[in-house]
């Protein structure tokens, strides 16, 4: 059995760990609230962008539409944009997304497609880069520091746009952790190029991205200045930026949620450990006292 001194030292160290984890939990909770507010603040822009895109797409001729909308006509080369966190200690957050991506890459390869990888976030780089070094075409670290910004999203979007214009891929999908609740995050793929209609109707985030003529657009016939195609061509890259910003924001909120849960668990585990160690400590102290007493008594009896 460990000596009393050792036990005492261990209890002290677990206690300080607990203090750190509970502080991290509190910080994550505060950041989570801010992240949610930010996601809230960018919603009006995204909604109006979608409405405008909807009206444009409803009127645009299919043949003349920019390739970003209708695709290149091929599906051979896929670009996966993986959004992960820059910092660790957030439970299975990055592991989950890496697993999903790895699985999808295998599947795509099975179908004979080429996959290219663009990684956002330092942890994702650590997890995926070694394995997929040959197909990694871009790495972005510390974009969401201190929080996801529009500029950060624009950097990623510019790179994607350039690559698309150079014909380096046909389909672009972003993988991020969707914020379901503080406790649950869900690795979610979202196709960016070409725009795809969401499968689930309750998915309010990206509805009408594909430009199904909604009730708002059917009523009005718009004049366009300059021509429809030109506006569409200018609007699409902007939409790409906002979709990426949204993915970054969701991922950031999820990260904070995951960290909060992970740190909550860690704090609780530390608490359990402390009570276990305290019991051991008290028992051995008791045992030692008893032993000393017996020694004294037997010593006295021997006289």
């Amino acid at each position: 059995m460990a000596s009393l001194k050792e036990l005492k030292a261990r209890i002290a160290s677990v206690k300080s760990t607990q203090r750190i984890t509970s502080a991290m939990k509190m910080v994550a909770a505060a950041k989570l609230r801010r992240a949610q507010e930010m996601a809230e603040a960018s919603r009006p822009y995204a909604e109006r962008m979608e409405r405008m895109l909807g009206s444009l797409a409803a009127g645009a001729p299919v043949e003349g539409a920019p390739p970003m909308m209708v695709g290149t006509g091929k599906e051979d080369v896929h670009l996966f944009v993986v959004v992960t966190s820059d910092r660790g200690l957030c439970g299975g957050f990055n592991g989950a997304i890496a697993r999903t991506v790895r699985h999808d890459i295998e599947r795509m390869r099975g179908e004979g497609k080429t996959v290219k990888l663009m990684i956002v976030g330092r942890k994702g780089v650590g997890l995926l880069r070694r394995e997929f070094a040959k197909i990694t075409v871009g790495v972005f670290e510390e974009l969401s520091k201190p929080a996801p910004s529009f500029d950060g999203a624009a950097t990623v979007a510019t790179k994607i746009t350039t690559m698309f214009e150079d014909g380096e891929f046909d389909i672009c999908t972003v993988y991020y952790n969707k914020f379901v609740s503080v406790l649950t995050q869900e690795p979610t793929p979202l196709q960016l190029i070409p725009f795809s209609a969401p499968d689930a109707p309750e998915d309010e985030d990206e509805d009408r991205a594909a430009g199904a003529a909604g009730p708002t657009t059917a009523a009005a016939v718009y004049d366009f200045e300059p021509e429809e195609e030109k506006i569409l061509a200018a609007l699409l890259p902007r939409n790409l930026r906002i979709q990426i910003l949204r993915a970054l924001q969701e991922s950031f909120a999820s990260e904070q949620g995951a960290r909060m849960t992970a740190m909550d668990n860690a704090t609780r585990n530390a608490g359990d450990m402390i009570s276990q160690l305290s019991i051991t400590y008290n028992r051995s102290r008791q045992a030692q006292i008893t032993k000393e007493l017996i020694e004294i008594i037997s010593g006295a009896e021997a006289l």
């Binding site: 930010m38 960018s42 009206s55 529009f150 718009y222 004049d223 200045e225 506006i231």
Partner: protein, 137 residues
């Protein structure tokens, strides 16, 4: 014209302006356009320049936008801009300082990508300077 126009100005970071106004003048891609309630529906691209909100026949508010899009219907006008700043307390000196800062940054830019991004900001800042310096109608 008793009717008022519901004018929204949104940027990715927040909803900047959402109010009933008499008229707004937008810097359209093909020339400035004044929008009042009852305007024919249109979608227009917007160049860098000033958005003027008119109230009671005079300019009530001016904002600088770094390009964007406007959607106009008879009842409302929505402008989405990636960057928009209210011009109330921006002076020419402020913008000049911004421009010279950007020039300094460009001279020490580590690579072409950063330089290109900074040059875009510089062009935007110069457009802003022109807007700030110009009289509001």
């Amino acid at each position: 014209m008793a009717d008022k126009l519901a004018f929204d100005l949104v940027s990715p970071e927040r909803l900047l302006l959402s109010e009933k106004v008499e008229m707004v003048v937008l810097p359209g891609e093909e020339g400035d356009l004044g929008v009042m309630a009852g305007h024919a529906p249109m979608i227009s691209q917007i160049r860098q320049g000033a958005i003027c909100v008119f109230e009671g026949g005079a300019v009530a508010q001016r904002l600088y936008v770094d390009g964007g899009f406007a959607e106009v219907t008879p009842e409302r006008c929505t402008v989405i801009a990636e960057m928009a700043v209210p011009l109330e307390d921006v002076t020419v000196a402020d913008v000049d300082r911004e421009i010279s800062d950007l020039r300094d940054d460009i001279s020490i830019a580590p690579n072409d990508e950063v330089r290109a991004a900074l040059e875009l900001s510089l062009a935007s800042a110069e457009a802003k300077r022109a807007v700030v310096a110009a009289p509001p109608y």
